[in-house]
Amino acid sequence: MSRALALVAMLVVTLCAAAPLRAETLIAAMSSHQIQITSNYTGSQLTVFGVVERDGRTVARGDPYDIVVTVRGPRRMLLVREKERLGPIWINRTQRRFPDSSLFLTVASNRPLSEIISPETAQRERIGLEHAQRPRDAALDLDVTTARFQEGLIRILADKGLYTEEDRGVTFLSSTVFSAPINVPATAPTGPYEIDIVLYAGGVPLARQTTHFEVVKSGMEQRLAAGAHDLPLVYGLVTVLMALLLGWLASVVFRRD
């Protein structure tokens, strides 16, 4: 917690030193830019801190500030298949590709998204699981079938805890300072994560800020994974020898005759 306070203090100092600005500016920092996976890793939590910076010339607004934080994990080609009935059996028949899709997605906001922005803005700005799931250059409108497949994709990944929507995931510490804890489950993939923070007031986007972090294997986990890829023959031989040795050892230990 003291670390968190120090960060906020640092942000406030940065804020005071900043040059004069006309509209709101968003300044954000993270508790950490790297999550290290070790053998006892069971998931991790990061916190995003931010300050809404305004100066004397900033227009007074009747609406309170809203913050939406979107965290996108490493991108992969996701293949969604649907089981259909063929005679008496159920088999995968149709499939849809979702290229450049995140395997991890969290959308956190200080109140439900529907209260912050209109559906049109959500779609245009790619806010919310359904819109954020699509890569940036993809078409906005999905045909009916693809939309159904996307619903399935979101449902499955949400069940696995990889896709989350947090209606109360952002907390305002004062009217302009906020924090958002980001839960990264152990099953979240390794690689780069990008965080997109958008400030709204009265449904209008005012400022945007992006930052990032990464999930990496470290220590023993990293060495084993690297060994498997860089020295596959050695890795394979070591595994086999170890298997044979353990098998032999067991027969010696348990030998009765």
């Binding site: 006892n40 089981k83 394979g236 032999w248």
Partner: protein, 309 residues
């Protein structure tokens, strides 16, 4: 207590894995089957990526069959001559199976092929074995000897094909053709389904060639040890999906379980042995059949086809 698996990329409970592998190891030692056909689906059920499950189970099966091979070898219940022919045929079958595997994957129907093969193979083999075991048990109960279908001196036609060889240890004088064909078929099925094939080899050697059960189990374990050692190396070289941490956990449970299984096998009479193996194989087949026939609660499935895994 949880441990993070470096290749599967998720944490897993140590006790769960030890318990599972111990139970499967017991079955493996008891019946002389590798146990891959049980362990692989169980690991996938625990969210381990299928490629990692198949490759890592290969390493585990190699280790736990080593224990069995040594045990049976000490008891002189292992026919190396028969085993070598089985291994050679198995290698050819594996190559053909890998070619078939890749072409089905290109067509996008690999999953269906795997499920359908599990259902047909397991229900047919399991059902036939169950029928036979029950019939034998009824005979015993009725006071008649549980006699084999063929009397001494007669032999099925396939044993009389050309290139007959003597396998003194297995009390077998038989053509090489049916034995090699069997090995090729098993290698083929093993490569496609990611299993060792012991569950087909054991009943086939017992039913088609009338080899004594104890020698069948030892020889089958020898064949499995050889194929699975090769499979582990191939997986490590081609797709890097062998998880060494998971392999160690599976081995610890597996080798200990196999010891108790091997010991329990000695106290089991032939009829119960056949009945239990039949029920086991049949239940796995039915488990896959349910998946095929029952409307799924979640019709969609997601696979990541790029990157990491």
């Amino acid at each position: 207590m949880q441990i993070y698996l470096p290749i599967a990329e998720l944490p897993i409970s140590i006790l769960t894995v030890l318990g599972l592998s111990g139970a499967v190891g017991f079955i493996s030692g008891l019946f002389g089957v590798g146990g891959g056909f049980l362990l692989t689906p169980l690991l996938i059920f625990l969210d381990i990526p299928p490629a990692v499950a198949v490759a890592t189970v290969a390493a585990q099966v190699a280790g736990s069959s080593t224990t069995g091979v040594l045990t049976y070898w000490r008891r002189r219940a292992l026919d190396f001559k028969l085993g070598t022919i089985l291994v050679m045929g198995g290698i050819l079958g594996t190559l053909l199976g890998v070619l078939f595997f890749n072409s089905m994957r290109r067509l996008g129907q690999l999953e269906l092929v795997i499920t359908l093969s599990y259902v047909t193979l397991f229900t047919i083999i399991g059902g036939l074995m169950l029928y036979d075991a029950l019939r034998a048990m009824m005979r015993v109960r009725a006071g008649k000897p549980a006699r084999l279908r063929r009397r001494a001196g007669t032999h099925p036609w396939w044993m009389g094909l050309p290139w007959r060889m003597r396998f003194p240890h297995s009390q077998l004088y038989c053509s090489v053709i049916p034995i090699a064909s069997l090995a090729i078929v098993i290698g083929f099925i093993g490569a496609v389904l990611g299993v060792g094939g012991g569950f087909i080899l054991v009943p086939a050697l017992i039913y088609f060639f009338r080899i004594p059960t104890a020698i069948v189990v030892g020889t089958s374990l020898f064949q499995i040890l050889m194929t699975m050692t090769g499979a582990t190396l191939l997986h490590a070289l081609t797709n890097q999906s062998v998880d060494i941490v998971l392999a160690i956990l599976l081995l610890l449970g597996g080798v200990i379980g196999a010891q108790f299984g091997g010991r329990a096998a000695r106290n089991l009479n032939v009829e119960s042995f056949r009945l239990l193996l039949a029920l086991l194989i049949l239940s796995v087949g039915l488990r896959f059949a349910i998946e095929l026939f029952i409307p799924p609660s979640e019709p969609f499935s997601v696979v990541s086809t790029e990157g990491g895994r």
